[in-house]
Symmetry: C2
Subunit: 339 residues, 2 copies
């Protein structure tokens, strides 16, 4: 049974990620992680007639690939934890409706991959099923029109803005005596530091990232140097700088162990993505294309995966509200936990 210390649950029954899939589109195919993706579409419509349907297709393909690689069928899953950025989580709902798998809809904005992974790991740890899937997605075009401006408007992008990844990642958790194992989970709290700029998500999320990270280190008695990599979700450059600064000030410098999925997926020099990548699909696809395989191959031994979400509602922001952030953390390791 899991051991709770503070806000962190240490898993004792060695749930592991048994399969995964990552998909993306054109911009992702031009980035440094392109070769790691399972599938990339040159055309970001994916042949669908709306951006929203294209995003559904991303999730559909990511879970299909994860199932296929694991030699599994949807019937082998006892639950799917999924959500996305679109209103009513419609990419997940329409993308996954045909599977016929019990469905727990989540909303965690860009923290969704860590949220779903954490929930799936607890589901397995609790003995509630043999296999649980975690999945999310984002699409640049559907996100822009919902949260900012329709693409046709041709709005200028500010330097702090981030580029929503067109991609999806799906992970299937279960029990297989092989890494990557999920060792611990820290569920984050909502942190609101009063940021109101919808083009500066990094700043809205960094305090939440610092809060969760601080709790994890306190609960675990571990330090940044105990990890090969602390991969935050999509803080981008602005949020990453803020996070490192805050952690340094609090006497817990990240010691060169930190990188951000939003900085890994694109080449900021070449790709005109301003402060970096973002969107649920950012951390999801970086996790499933790059981080999980690196853990499996032993190139990474201990990873803190912490997806961060800016819980931004356009209605609330128009009513003068600030943008709260949240960050959930999952410790993934080559070694299982327990005794």
């Amino acid at each position: 049974m899991a051991v709770r210390k503070g806000n962190t649950l240490f898993l004792e029954t060695a749930p592991s990620v048994i399969s995964y899939g990552a998909v993306g589109s054109k911009k992702e195919s031009e980035g440094p992680l392109a070769a790691a993706f399972d599938r990339l579409w040159e055309d970001s419509t994916l042949g669908e007639d709306t951006w929203e349907k294209a995003e559904c297709r991303l999730q559909k393909e990511a879970i299909r690939i994860a199932l296929e690689k694991g030699e599994l069928s949807p019937k082998d899953l006892q639950v799917i934890f999924a959500g996305d950025l679109l209103n009513q989580c419609s990419s997940s709902i329409y993308g996954l409706r045909e599977l016929g798998v019990p469905f727990v809809g989540l909303y965690g904005a860009c923290s969704t991959m860590a949220e779903s992974l954490a929930m799936a790991a607890l589901f397995i740890e609790g003995g509630f099923g043999e296999r649980a899937a975690a999945i999310t997605s984002s699409h640049f075009c559907s996100a822009e029109r919902q949260f900012r401006f329709p693409l046709e408007y041709g709005g200028q992008r500010t330097p702090t803005s981030q580029w929503t990844v067109t991609g999806s990642g799906a992970a299937i958790l279960g029990r297989k005596a092989a890494p990557p194992y999920v060792r611990a989970v820290t569920i984050g709290s909502i942190i609101d530091m009063g940021i109101t700029d919808a083009n500066n998500m990094g700043a809205a999320m960094a305090p939440a990232a610092a809060d969760t990270l601080r709790r994890f280190f306190r609960d675990s008695g571990m330090a940044p140097a105990d990890f090969d990599l602390i991969a935050t979700g999509d803080l981008g450059q602005v949020g990453s700088d803020l996070l490192r600064e805050v952690m340094e000030k609090e006497g817990c410098p990240l010691e060169g162990r930190h990188n951000d999925c939003g900085l890994m997926i694109y080449d900021r020099e070449r790709q005109q993505v301003e402060a970096g990548g973002s969107g649920c699909g950012c951390s999801a696809s970086v996790l499933c294309a790059y981080l999980l395989p690196a853990l499996q191959r032993g190139e990474l031994k201990n990873l803190l995966f912490m997806a961060t979400g800016a819980l931004m509602s356009t209605t609330a922001v128009q009513q003068g509200e600030s943008i709260p952030g949240i960050a959930h953390l999952v410790w993934l390791s080559q070694e299982p936990g327990g005794k």
Copy 2:
């Protein structure tokens, strides 16, 4: 440890609902359950300057009351499972951000109360914490403007339409050797029968309700007569008639044991609510105002609580998509499970 049979998890460690709170507004104060609410506001703005802020306030008050009645503080909660109908679940996020409690955002449309209750029960069953809260809300005015028309438009309502409840319910789960106990949980799958009428949510949800109910009876070997009440979320009259008809046809008639939260909360004769009440706050407030106290007092011995959700995205519906439904089920009982 929970025992899985088919899609149903039977809980063995006797998690129970240790406290709860229910709040509503004017229309709810005129309905048959008025006396059971903890607090009712005559003015549906609750003194706030937008409908959305009023809805946040509903959640804030519901959890405050639940904590107070349980002699608990936010620090006593290890997690909150919450969500609502508004885009980006903003009522939950803004309503609960000040608590500082680890937050798992859910999206299940009007199924959210059963979804959050199920997740909270599994959290306790899994030994992941001492106490977990489940909460959701809805507000007639914020829902109308987001999903249909702004109130100022004065649109006519169709006979199949339902009236979104302005209310919230919060339940705190933990371990206290007292009823109501959570005995079992069935997580539903997404069911889409091709309904496209945004004013007929009952018809979109009834097939999902039938699917989950069918699985529960098959998994448990029980029958409708084993329950004092099968309370569906908010099928209203149209969806309730459909559910009963489908179950009858399949050889599992509900034998007069079925009622719907959407039909309990308002008096359809007097209150002009068309097919009945709806919204996440409907099943949440009926559960926390009326059903949980009835279980506690022994007036109900075994209850199936099954909130149903129409996973409707206005964008998807405008793009010609149908409206998928989902239903999650929680068996609540005066007697604990396990050996």
